[in-house]
């Protein structure tokens, strides 16, 4: 379980960096830079929320496991 999640995190990191490099000349970059670059702020907040939710989901799963063992 741990190995899989580590691998998943690494993959996500690699994907995100390659996406950032690709933004320089693609349409995605244009969208991100439009409207005073507000989409960048939205992406940043969504990443924070995603981290928060993943943390909560993990805690929830851990609690369920503990409750089962008792």
């Amino acid at each position: 379980m741990r190995k899989i999640s580590c691998l998943f995190a690494l993959l996500l990191l690699l994907l995100s960096t390659s996406m950032l490099h690709a933004q320089g000349d693609s349409n995605m970059g244009d969208t991100m830079r439009s409207n005073g670059r507000i989409y960048v702020v939205i992406t940043v907040i969504l990443v924070i929320l995603a981290g928060l939710f993943l943390y909560l989901i993990r805690l929830d799963r851990k609690m369920s496991k503990l409750e089962k063992n008792n």
């Binding site: 939205i42 907040i45 929320l49 909560l56 929830d60 409750e67 008792n70």
Partner: protein, 238 residues
């Protein structure tokens, strides 16, 4: 109550919270908002700052309901529920305070307006004092409850105190600040976020889902704390 039937173990409302909060952030930053003087784009804080206070109020209400349930049944489980809902409510209140401090610094504290230029004029704001009193009363609830070792005494005294604390919320954050003159929106005419004439219909489409989303997030965190407490109690007995 069997674990699987209890709402704490269901996942649909947790998914709903995630979806509503993602919607809140995306729509909250993208929709067209009315261009108001002094506020401008900061009106979008309605989806974040105001929702903290709504969430706090709802969680405190759930907390006091559980205190009353404890006093009716003397089931210690409800005492644990009440305590953790109150804690998460306090956290949301503190976040509301902190976000309000940032918002206020760039709207009320106007260097061109001598009436709001200094800290002392802002510190006299009745809404700030009222909210501080309300939160301090709830801090006292936690101190009181966690300082009593006897389980039954702790539950009974803190449940009664929780009802007093909840009653004090009304004068300190709903009534007194409305009577006194204030820079904060929502005076004698009522809550600006709930007033149908005040709030733009577009903004209501985001505001109500935002309130539900943030509140459910608070409930989620509270249920995790409750489950941990219940588990600890169980292990103590065994």
């Amino acid at each position: 109550m069997t674990p699987t039937k209890n709402y704490m173990y269901k996942s649909w409302w947790k998914v709903l919270s995630v979806v509503l909060l993602i919607y809140t952030v995306v729509a909250g930053l993208l929709i067209k908002v009315p261009d108001l003087p002094a506020l401008e784009e900061t009106i979008r804080n309605l989806f974040f700052h105001v929702c903290m206070w709504f969430g706090m109020m709802i969680l405190f209400t759930v907390s006091v309901i559980n205190s009353i349930r404890y006093l009716r049944t003397f089931n210690l489980r409800y005492d644990i529920y009440a305590r953790h809902y109150a804690t998460v409510g306090i956290v949301m209140g503190l976040l509301g305070y902190a976000t309000g401090a940032v918002w206020m610094s760039y709207t009320w504290a106007d260097p061109n307006n001598p009436a709001t230029a200094s800290f002392s004029t802002i510190a006299r704001e009745p809404k700030l004092i009222g909210a501080a009193i309300a939160l301090l009363i709830y801090f006292a609830y936690l101190v009181l409850r966690d300082s009593i070792n006897d389980m039954d005494k702790r539950a009974r005294i803190s449940a009664v105190y929780n009802i007093f604390a909840y009653a004090m919320l009304f004068p300190s954050i709903w009534i007194v600040p409305r009577i006194l003159p204030s820079l904060h929106p929502g005076g004698s005419e009522g809550n600006p976020a709930m007033n149908f004439k005040d709030i733009d219909s577009n903004m209501r489409l985001v505001f109500y889902p935002a309130v539900i989303g943030w509140t459910l997030l608070g409930v989620w965190i509270a249920t995790l704390k409750i489950r941990l407490s219940l588990l600890k109690e169980k292990q103590m007995i065994q």
